[in-house]
């Protein structure tokens, strides 16, 4: 019931949205990661449901295929006791040619508190914010950003590797077309990590050093300096005829991340779905020492934490502590 909140504040207040990692400062990221920690504790209990968002409405609008993100957002909202509506491109009026604007306006009439949006086009979430006062949570908009992925990656590293400040993360592969990398770079840098990108020159963003504040290399050996190697999905359409690299064969030969190319102690991440034998060797994909499974598992609690952060009362330092304490006994 967003109107209730607005009335309480005495003015029409637009809810916060999370579209790009730049919407969060370091303190906000740290706050979400702390909240995720508390939810991890809750998930260890028999009753995994908490009443925090009872009466709130979450609309998951997934207009592009997704398994991990849509499932974990749905579960996250349910575990927080929110009312959840899931809408996919197929089977909805989007299929009849309804514009995104009209879809948002129509759904907005039901008074949702948050739209979680996955869309193939950059700018879809920004458009949505112009037609609703509900929070808009970007679950991936084209090649732009995927902030919930970045937050769960940060959470995974913090839990499994250690403090992010001072760590070195190397993104490998198709950085130019990766929303995972774009959000990840911003998130890791905000938390004090050193970030480099490694890949074929045709798949690195234009002047990435200056644009994104990262180091760049076209030599896979340069992942050696990194504590964490983040492998990016390589799409088939980038290879061969009309693509940015000559062939799958040449790409794998130069950039496939394998056990042989890693040094001991390096941790490997991948947001999935994996192309085995292209960007990541099958053996490495199956190696339990990678963080890949942990990433998938942590998606739930981090997405709970994001919804909580957007929808629960604005956190002052003390109220945050009180609310989290309340959670623990819920």
């Amino acid at each position: 019931m967003p109107r209730t909140d607005d009335a309480r504040k005495g003015a029409s207040v637009r809810r916060r949205s999370l579209i790009a990692m730049s919407d969060l400062d370091r303190a906000a990221i740290a706050r979400i990661l702390r909240t995720a920690n508390r939810f991890t504790e809750v998930m260890g209990r028999d009753n995994k449901r908490v009443p925090t968002l009872r009466g709130r409405t979450v609309i998951n609008l997934f207009l592009e295929p997704s398994t991990r993100t849509s499932t974990s957002f749905e579960l996250a909202a349910k575990r927080l006791s929110a009312d959840v509506v899931n809408i996919k491109g197929t089977g909805s009026s989007v299929e009849k040619g309804e514009s995104l604007k009209d879809t948002i306006l129509t759904l907005n009439a039901y008074g949702p508190d948050v739209f979680v949006i996955r869309h193939a086009a950059v700018g879809a979430c920004n458009l949505a914010t112009r037609h609703t006062d509900a929070s808009v949570l970007n679950a991936g908009d084209g090649k732009h950003e995927h902030p919930s992925q970045a937050l769960l990656d940060l959470y995974t590293i913090e839990r499994e590797v250690g403090p992010i400040d001072g760590l070195h993360i190397a993104f490998v592969g198709d950085v130019a077309h990766s929303r995972v990398a774009r959000s990840g770079i911003a998130g890791f840098r905000a938390m004090g990590a050193r970030v480099s990108v490694v890949g074929p020159p045709t798949l690195l963003p234009w002047r990435a050093e200056e644009a994104l504040g990262v180091e760049t290399s076209t030599d896979i050996r340069d992942i050696a300096a990194a504590d964490v190697v983040y492998v990016l999905r390589m799409q088939r359409e980038r290879m061969g005829d009309g693509g940015q690299v000559p062939s799958l064969r040449e790409y794998a030969a130069r950039y496939e991340v394998t056990h042989e190319r890693l040094r001991p102690g390096q941790r490997v991440m991948h947001a999935g779905p994996i192309n085995r034998g292209v960007e990541l060797s099958g053996a490495l994909a199956d190696d339990p020492a990678t963080l890949i499974e942990r990433q998938a598992a942590n998606g739930l609690v981090v997405r709970m934490a994001i919804l909580y952060d957007l929808l629960a009362e604005p956190a002052t330092a003390t109220s945050e502590a009180q609310e989290l304490a309340a959670l623990a006994v819920a």
Partner: protein, 433 residues
Amino acid sequence: MSARLVQRDGTPASLVIEGARLLDPAAGIDRVGDLVVRDGAIGGEPDGLERISGDGLLVAPGFVDPHVHLRTPGREDAEDIASGSRAAAAGGFVTILAMPNTHPVVDSAAVLGSLLEQAARDAAIRVGFFAAITVGQEGRALTEQGELAELGAAGFSDDGRPVRSAEVLRRALRYQQITGGLPLVLHEEDPDLSGEGVMHEGLVSSRLGLAGIPGVSESSMVARDLALAVTEDARVHVCHVSARETVEELRRARERGVRVTSEVTPHHLVLTDDAVATLDASRYKMNPPLRSEEDREALVAALADGTIDCVATDHAPHAPQEKEAPFEEAPFGVTGLETAFAVCNTHLVRRGVLPLELLVRRMSSDPAAALGLPVPTLAEGAPADLALIDPAGRVRVGEERFQSKSANSAFLGDDLEGRILLTIAGGQVAWRR
């Protein structure tokens, strides 16, 4: 052969503007005094005429815009000749040239003839029409340019897309001998280099993950086409220059005496790709795209030193439902007729970057000369083609309803200085606030 410019019939204006600054740099006029318009012409006896106070105001030759999309035929919901010419009049324009990328394309005498007839009924100011270079703007067969020229085409353009084949363009350049030297007006872009690009390739596109259109996409085609123009000793006009690399090509060509003219839009002169970070397609998605600050500075310098001849709006109205889409999906183009002077006046003249005298030239006599059109002037005896302007008058863009049917302005909501109070075009009052 020359462009046929048409305007609806109306009453010739008769009035006196008293005590205004009369500024017509091309005619060597810059004085404070009275300007008499009698029976639609400059000069004559002031006795018995309506008097308008020009105190603190500016009278300039009316503006000429060689690059407008009137969306007629086919998309009259976004603009038509009446609304587009009224928008032009509200911006101080007395002559505009419409681009032929309509539905159907202006590629036959039948379509051009029908437009000229419509304009003779509906146009508030003088309107001329370009015809396409190639049939359907498909880049293959040349249009019947001899017949189109005889009927009064203002020139030829496939604007909206480049002529991909160098050989097809070369034939069009050679064929210019048939059309009496009517200009070939070129949208310069390499379709492969532009690819799926939706904004300038630069730091901002890297941050947003949007596919970029590099500056070299424009400049490499300009280099190709200038080489062809030299080979064929032809005359070309380069549309909406946006990249500093293009400015360099043009500068070298002008030094060598190549017969090339060019234009730049107000939005490219004052905005950069930083604005695209908002992902607001209605305001900031256009082609060519807003480029970097270095590009913008090069464009301003080139307009100032004459390497680029004139300002053109590339007024590109779109219906709201098309522009209210995710940035990647929305069509290219922004409106510009009603804001052109105020934008340049606010951001260039009043900031001391470009003298007012030069801006007036670049918006009136220079575009007319570049495209071979009659030059608006305040000289005695000339037909009255003028704008009465309050250079300090404040405008909040969009606060008053646009005369255009569309509102996809890059400057919507901005506070600008420079109000057009009166436009007399072809001797008729076309706009009066």
